[in-house]
Amino acid sequence: MPLFLPRHPHGPAGWRCLLAAGVAVAVVGCGRSEKPRLVAEPESPAAPVMPPEPGPAAPAEATFLPPSLADLDRDAKWIDRPVKQGLAVLREQQAKEPVLASVAEALALRNDSPEANAKILSALGRLPEPGAADSSARLDRHVTGDLSSTNPILISSSAEFDILGLTGFGLFSFDRALEPFASAETVVSWQTSADGLYDRIVMRDDLVWSDGTPITAHDIAFTYRVIMDPRVPVPAVRSGTDQLKGVHAYDDHTLVFFHKEPLATNIWNINFPVLPRHIYASTWEEDPTLKDSPEHVALEEKPVCGGPYEILARKRGQEIVLRRRDNWSTFQGKVVREPPYFRDVRFRIIEDPNTALLALKSGEIDEMILQPEQWTTQTVDDGFYELNTKATAPEWVSFHFAWNIDEPFFADRRVRRAMSYAFDHDRMLEKICLGLYQPCAGNFPPGSWMAGTKPLVPYKQDLDKAETLLDEAGWSDHDNDGIRDKEIDGQLVPFEFTMLVNQQPFRIAICTLLKENLEQIGVIVNVRPVEVTALQEMMQKRTFQACLSGWGSGTDPDTSENIWKTGEMRNYSGYSNPEVDRLFAEGRRELDRSRRGEKYARIQEILYDDQPYTWLFWRNSFYGFSKSLRGYVFSPRGPFHYSPGSGSLWKPRAE
């Protein structure tokens, strides 16, 4: 199934999104479909996560004339690329993994140690033996906000990506290790030309939309045209497709993607959601908003779906119920694809995490993300373990203090380093994160291919060093009032700055710790909690001095270019280093994974020395699961947002 990767408008393949202020925006692939989506953290309402696309996109295809297939075959040297089925890949991997505990043992366990966590994941995270899954069961998922649209190309919030993961059609996906492949459920073969300029797909001929019409290559070429039409208000999926020269269907099943440049990121650019052409071909020209005309309003309620599920019922603000499509797994009376395990998937919309926890404890929902405090103090008693268990794994979501380099305080690298040396990183991990999160020292996840082989160590608190650095940078107490200051343009400026943070006790506590630490060395911090959207706006306009925020990572390091490259939109720190700029440009064009990795590792080292951020921690996944649920397997992007992701969940047949 396809997973859709939403892109940031200014990045080639947006895999990092702003977590500032509590809307955690991880780009995620949906369980059974391979395009990732954005998730909002449970503590905040699901806000649209991707900023709307500014400016019109270039009209596609208008100027592009595809060569004939014979010409292409003559010119291009085709290289076969992997075509896999997500579930089969996972099944193979699990066959090699040792079983650490029996199901009964794991269900009796309390998740209070890494060993217990490993046992729970090992026993309960398995895929079912043939026939063991209850094929008439219903899965009750938890989402934090309602959909604003059910149209595949209008997706933007986390809930929309979650739903699309189950109802949408797509050609590509990526596995637990974020390695891309074409989905065997929809694709026969995938080839890339040796020069990296073309991708050729041959689709299966046994695919139909939920209304019975065949799904063909023309649907994909049509969708590309609609996405790239500037009149259509596409919020998230256009960045990425805008890197393509064109998409052409040569017949019902043969499709070629034409790239402008041979980039390492091309695989993420050809991965977008698909519209049924027979439905929209006659309506979209009249109503390019895809939302306003009576036909489109009716389609919002009951969209024609290409994925394994279709929307059965929807109560706004309360729930969305999906029903398994029989004509997904069977074609002309024959079973052609493995049907999904659940007959129904119900998404319950609950904004408040405390209410959601009550729903989990009473068995109304089968899973939810737990907050650190919920994990440590509210899910340890019999009341919780009666119906539920919980599991955790590392996730690629990191938090940091961002320093605005344009401010007089933070222009000097020595000052930024002093900030990092002043902060009691260990205490934060132990007392505020309660030992649940991993220390973070750089922008790429440790152990990943882009992070390099030398692990970075966070700046350890060393107040003497911090004071020396501040003295060197000219910030010392000249007027004897106990507060450091420096003469700037003839004025004595005291070192007093405002730290912005969103209204969350956990994050405020981290800022308060920094305040306490800096006060010890004569620097005054005013912690100012602000509302999510206000914080984002101040960051975008760069009217802040320092702030606590975070980034959720996607699959490719290239997308973080717009965080670090000189003058880029999301370079909120105002960081500029020609070497970093050059390394990003080179990284995108380098096709060899290990040489590419070296470039990104070098970027990380430079950033570590310059400390435009003080990196804090990697936030892990923490989930509560119903004891009746099985098959949860975690990726660096959580348990659902890769392939098979949520498609690997199942419930055992009642004895």
């Binding site: 405090e373 308060t512 005054i524 100012r528 602000v530």
Partner: protein
């Protein structure tokens, strides 16, 4: 025969006869004492200390950071006194606060010789070391409560000081002058009455660069004077026709003198009542704001912000009970004082009681 008491003397005698009102007054006085002495009751900075031959009072830093002597920053005390004092000047001595706990941070292990680190998260159940428990970050709730008293009293008195001043001036002008002045002040009063205080506070807090507790007080003050103004206007309307006022005018007294010297003292008693109730209301508003997370910036110790900490874990009952009881009692006390004042000074109520 004893000298005949004046109006206030009589009022005080009548007030003293009401045990509830007296208890409330004592409670308020007690709170004021706690507020003023807060740094000496709970803190980690010495009340008085002798260091390198000179006397200092670092505890004043709790009132204003600038009052902390710079020598301690120069000598790299880094906010921790007990060990540094002894290590850097063996001759030094210090008088410590009654409770060695900080309202803004958790006391670290061995910061006070032999004392363990404050418990954090849900481990901070009230105990002998922490009679009111500790919050999620390990900050002692008793210390927060004591320093929160300062905030609560300040909010009440400062905001009602502002409101009282504006209300009395506007009401006196309208009531005494009459005519277009009265029409104007009455309309202004009505307009201000329509401004929703809470919404205004939220909006202004979002706009200003560095919001502090003083901004909250100012907004409550600048919007809360309407009731006082209307009462004052009524009293001035009534009294400006009184014979003694006519007499004063005949004697050549100017309008300002008549308003301040003659009418105001006689109108003051009924005006004091809404001011007392206003103090209670202001404390409630500040607590509510802090509870919602829009109050004074962290880590200011305010009763409402302690309550806010309990939202994420209701199992930590001590974060609900102690500040909740404190807010309840304080608001109740001010209301009782106001009621006592009303009954002691209003002749009509007095008549009715007889």
């Amino acid at each position: 025969m004893a000298a005949v008491d004046g109006f206030w003397g009589q009022a005080w005698r009548r007030y003293r006869r009401r045990p509830l009102a007296m208890a409330a007054l004592l409670f308020v006085v007690g709170l004021a004492a706690v507020a003023v002495l807060a740094p000496a009751i709970a803190g980690t900075k010495p009340v008085v200390c002798r260091y390198k031959g000179r006397l200092y009072a670092p505890c004043l830093a709790y009132f204003d950071r600038r009052l902390e002597p710079a020598i301690f920053a120069k000598d790299k005390f880094r906010g921790s006194y007990p060990r540094n004092l002894a290590a850097k000047d063996p001759q030094s001595w210090a008088i410590w606060p009654l409770v060695f706990q900080d309202p803004y941070r958790a006391v670290r292990a061995d910061e006070w010789p032999g004392r363990p680190e404050n418990p954090a998260m849900d481990k901070g159940v009230p105990s002998r070391a922490h009679p009111f428990g500790t919050d999620q970050a390990g900050v002692d709730v008793f210390a927060k409560m004591v320093h929160g008293t300062t905030v609560a009293l300040l909010v009440g008195f400062v905001s009602m000081g502002i409101a009282g001043t504006i209300g009395i001036v506007v009401g006196a002008l309208g009531g005494y002058c009459g005519g277009w002045v009265d029409a104007l002040t009455s309309r202004i009063t009505e307009i201000v009455m329509c401004v929703p205080t809470l919404v205004l506070i939220l909006a202004i807090m979002a706009i200003i660069e560095k919001p502090t507790i003083w901004h909250t007080m100012a907004i409550i003050g600048f919007t809360g004077w309407t009731g006082i103004a209307r009462l004052t206007r009524g009293e001035f309307l009534r009294l400006k026709g009184a014979e003694y006022v006519t007499a004063a005018r005949a004697a050549g007294a100017g309008p300002v003198r008549i308003m301040l010297r003659h009418i105001l003292p006689n109108a003051l008693a009924p005006i004091l009542v809404p001011i007392t109730f206003g103090i209670a209301a202001a404390i409630l508003v500040e607590s509510g704001l802090s509870f919602l997370g829009f109050g004074s910036p962290p880590p200011t110790a305010s009763w409402g912000s302690i309550l806010n900490g309990a939202r994420s874990n209701l199992g930590m009952w001590w974060l609900v009970v102690f500040p909740g009881v404190a807010i309840f009692l304080t608001v109740l006390a001010y209301n009782l004082v106001g009621e006592g004042l009303q009954e002691a000074t209003d002749p009509r109520l007095r008549e009715a009681r007889k």
